[in-house]
Structure formats: C-alpha cells, structure tokens
C-alpha cells in the first residue's frame, strides 16, 4: 500500500506530529511504502533545526529526520505556511534577505501542489490534525 501523510498539528503544542511519526514507522515496518509526508499549518515548525527540547523529552525534528534518512522519505514542508512562520532554508533566507536559515534537507520547502499530487498518487492520504 502506498501512503501519504498530511500533518497539520503544531510540532510542539500538539501530539499529532508524534502520532503521525509512530504511524509512519509502523507502516514502514509492515512493508508499506510512503510517498510523501506533507507538513502544513503549524506543523511546519517541525522542520526547524533550531529546536532544542530538554534531553529527556522527544525531539520530533530529529525523529522525522532519522526516519527520512533511513527510508529515503520525501519530507515536504508547505513553503507559504513555513515562510510566514519563520521556517526557511538557505535559498529562501537569501531571497528574503535574512542573515540565517533554520531548515535543510531532508526537509524540503515546496508548494501546496505537492499535497494535491500526493492525494492523486497515493492509495491512502491520512491526516494528523491540529
């Protein structure tokens, strides 16, 4: 089965990013494929590498990064939702004349079209809400 996952909940004020992570991990362990993880709304903060939770708490940015690297997952962050919330990669930082950036691969900024494409391609699109 080919899954895509839409995450809408805040990275650090909602359990949904972690529930989505457990779902993705379980789906991969069962032999399913994941076409794309799409971060939208408040969930775009997941892509910020500046997140520094206490050592005994979950690091959701790191969890997704490691899962993506292990399974070559496509982590797409909605670019419009990300820019207004202060999540940007090197190219966007330059374009917006910012002195620094806080996001990089495997997180990738792209348009909402990637969500529509995921809906078309995948057997199942599952949302983890705010």
């Amino acid at each position: 089965m080919l899954f895509s996952i839409l995450i809408y909940g805040s990275a650090h004020n909602s359990q949904s990013a972690h529930t989505a992570y457990r779902f993705a991990d379980s789906a991969l362990k069962a032999g399913h494929k994941i076409h794309r993880i799409f971060f939208y709304g408040e969930s775009v903060h997941t892509a910020s590498e500046l997140s520094a939770p206490p050592r005994d708490e979950q690091n959701i940015h790191q969890l997704w990064k490691e899962l993506a690297q292990a399974h070559e997952l496509d982590l797409v962050v909605c670019i419009a939702a990300a820019l207004k919330r202060g999540v940007m990669d090197k190219a966007e930082a330059k374009r917006h004349e910012k002195g620094s950036f806080n996001s990089q691969a495997p997180y990738e900024l792209s348009g909402l079209g990637q969500l529509s494409e995921a809906a078309i391609i995948s057997d199942r699109l599952i949302t983890f809400g705010a």
């Binding site: 809408y8 359990q15 529930t19 379980s26 789906a27 362990k29 199942r124 699109l125 809400g129």
Partner: protein
C-alpha cells in the same frame, strides 16, 4: 468504499464529536486517538458510542495507557496498537480526521 475515521479531541468538544458520530456509516471504523480516548470514561459519549450499529469503535492503546484509562472491550469496541492502526487504514478505502 468504507471509511476509517480518526478523532483526537476530548469529548468536551461536543460539537466535534456530534459531527463526527453523525458522519459514520455502516462498515466504517471510528479510531479514537490522543485526547479523544477520554471518550472511554465520558458519561454521555461513552453511552452514545455503545449504541452505534454497524460501526467498529477502536481505541489507540498507547493513548489509553498514557492517560491511565480503562477501556471495556465488547462486540463493537476494541483496543488496537499502532500496527493495527496501519491495518485499519489499509482495510478502509479512505480516512477522515476529526480534530
């Protein structure tokens, strides 16, 4: 063409729970996750769930444990783990998330 519905808000969000329960059709599964699992001990919602006919009600195990609740399994009510969550998503042709 049945649907897996998930709901992640506590039953004190009555408007959400009512919309969700009204959207269930025979053959659908309602998977209750995150703060939704307080439905298990909520006086009115727990009763309404038990009267839904032809609907499977599942509670996500990790969330029930986290909140220290007790879910009574029955004909139409079960506790599922993360792996079974994935299976439910496969068995139904689409998912709808209530949040």
């Amino acid at each position: 063409m049945t649907t897996l519905h998930t709901i992640n808000k506590s039953p004190s969000n009555l408007a959400l729970w009512h919309s969700c329960m009204a959207a269930l059709l025979p053959g659908d599964t309602l998977l209750i996750i995150e703060n939704g699992v307080y439905a298990a001990t909520h006086t009115t919602i727990a009763e309404q769930l038990s009267t839904l006919e032809g609907i499977n009600i599942s509670f996500l195990s990790a969330d029930v444990q986290a909140r220290g609740l007790v879910v009574t399994e029955s004909n139409n009510t079960s506790i599922v783990d993360d792996q079974q969550f994935v299976n439910l998503a496969c068995q139904h042709s689409k998912t709808v998330s209530w949040f």
